[in-house]
Symmetry: C2
Subunit: 342 residues, 2 copies
DNA sequence: CAGGGAATGACAGCGGTAGTCATTTTGTAA
DNA sequence: TTACAAAATGACTACCGCTGTCATTCCCTG
């Protein structure tokens, strides 16, 4: 019924020690032996007992995903990507939802890592952007990978998966520019999230490149919420010189802006184009559906896990600088944008 | 650093076996001993190593949550409740997202259970409503708890946590009736989900109780989607004799209906009241925010896990009929409902 | 004070990893 | 070809933290 390391060893005609060596890809295994063992593993569909490994090994075969994100869809996608990669490598995933704002969050993270003897951690915002967490994890020598907003790999950002919000925002803005819009407003998300700043920078860069002077009045501070979008759009639509397009920092803000516009009897997209960011379900649940930018979250998570495994794996040096994968959310054109009427 | 069973045993002055007995609340432990051990456990904040337990025991200390639900918020809430309860009992949670419609889903479920040696399973719709899955699990003698839509406990529904959609719908409908509405339409969800049928039944019962003949034209078949709500409301608003209120089977449908109404220049809630069901984020992301029914999903999940643990626990007989917890989603009045103008 | 059930403990073993040597295989230079 | 070192592999042991089995001790009852 259950396949153990002994079965594999017997079938391959080697000792369990060798099978163990193969499983932990230790260097000193001959190619021929490795093939035999690999074949036996495949034939028996052997999967090492994670409990036994965790118990016996000084190192662990469980990674953790600690999160605090109001966007459940994001979390679910992340989990999916992590889970798939874990399964592929014979790891287990420990999920730990928590409150990033609690006073002793750093201690809590450390407790989770130590109690569950985690091999490593995948961190998403806001945790990935908290330097005190990174420091604490380094202090207890636990590997971790951060998923953060950023466009340019750098040695400082080692062990990071980058989301290039800048370029994505640049592209979205170009989409609006190509539709003939020049009076484009920007509804910001929370200042604390670096994603908001990155997106704003990309937006401004696109304008500048076309020789358009960004109107500072069109940049409205706010937060990642529906309400904020409602308020921001109301503010913009009350102006004498109105924008013809709005770049909302995420889909919720965009949905709020959409509502505000509708209340003011502004036709979307005929009189006003609106774009969001994230491709959250909200973006499909509005009317018209939102033009937005799509992040392949599962893939990003899978990459992050791969990066982590390459580190936790015994062969690789801890300090080796990895190349950093960079993901660029893609433009997704739907019905909330149209050529500028003016 | 790490607290093991040995530390507890030493502090309590007993053998590790006795500590083990306490941890698994086996019956034959003297009160005095139990207290000593319990105190030691508390003092050291001992938490048993799940890996070691899984390895040593014939039974397992991991339960599974297999899901396929488009509503990420629901899944996240469920996970939260399960996780908390697992932690409390020293169990681990294995999450397994999958596709309920895949051809060999039954085999997949069994594989997961057997490969990860799960102690039990928590099933939510659609899995909890698939008889072939229940049968298969019974055949391999794995405990499971189902969370299903239903109002009356019965011996057949042993090991179930019931969501009383009927009563909740009854209450929501009463809310509308109390506001003076009598021409109330009902937008159905997918037929395959028993929740839709239960909610419709509750709706009709409330009308009948007030001596109101439900207008069959006002019951519109559909599915749990925004589009369905848009279409359903459009259909209703095109009628010569329009309803003054709409009961949407969930928040997405309600959001769609809201949009449809707005397009037809129908004021909400002045001219038309709309209620949803679920208290999903959508219900707060619309304008006006939706009156809806709230399900305490985390609590429900926690209860389901408790029920499961009571079964998997050695002391209890497998066949013992448990009382079935029944949850009634609560009415949550927001701004999408108002007194009938007519 | 014996008998017997209740309470407790000693010990092996779950399925792996890791370390130590011993042994076999291999590659290579004389 | 032979010799010999280096590389690859195996045999064996200890152990991770806990549970199952069974033997032992305790304590109550008649």
């Amino acid at each position: 019924m259950k396949v153990t390391i002994n079965d594999v060893a017997e079938l391959a005609g080697v000792s369990i020690k060798t099978v163990s060596r193969v499983m932990n890809n230790e260097p000193s295994v001959k190619k021929a032996t490795l093939d035999k063992v690999t074949a036996a593993i495949a034939q028996l569909n052997y999967q090492p007992n994670a409990a036994a490994r965790n118990l016996a090994s000084t190192r662990s075969y469980t990674i953790g995903y600690i999160y605090d994100n109001p966007n459940a869809y994001y979390v679910i996608d992340m989990q999916k990507g992590l889970l798939d990669t874990c399964r592929k490598h014979g790891y287990e995933l420990l999920i730990h939802p928590t409150n990033a704002k609690s006073a002793n969050i750093v201690q809590e993270v450390i407790d989770v890592v130590q109690h569950s003897r985690l091999a490593g951690l995948v961190l998403t915002p806001p945790f990935s952007e908290m330097p005190e967490i990174a420091e604490a994890l380094e202090r207890i020598e636990v590997d971790f990978v951060r998923i953060i907003s950023g466009s340019t790999p750098s040695p400082k950002l080692t062990n990071c998966v980058l989301i290039d919000d800048f370029t994505a925002a640049f592209k979205i803005t170009n989409h609006l520019l190509e539709l003939g819009h020049t009076d484009i407003a920007f509804l910001c998300g929370d200042e604390e999230h670096s994603s908001s700043g990155e997106r704003l920078a990309g937006f401004q860069a696109a304008l500048t490149k076309r020789g358009i002077q960004a109107n500072p009045k069109f940049v409205v501070p706010g937060s990642y919420s529906f309400e904020s979008g409602v308020k921001g759009a109301k503010h913009l639509l009350a102006m004498a010189h109105k924008p013809t397009a709005i770049f909302a920092c995420n889909d919720e803000i965009a949905a709020g802006a959409l509502f505000s516009a509708r209340l003011s009897h502004v036709e979307i997209p005929e009189q006003l184009s609106i774009v969001g960011f994230e491709n959250s379900p909200f973006s499909r649940q509005t009317w018209p559906p939102l033009t937005t930018a799509n992040q392949p979250n599962s893939t990003i998570a899978a990459q992050a896990a791969e990066l982590l495994f390459r580190h936790t794996r015994p062969g690789s040096a801890r300090s080796a600088v990895e190349q950093q994968p960079v993901f660029i959310p893609e433009l997704l054109v739907r019905e909330s944008t149209a050529p500028c009427a003016r």
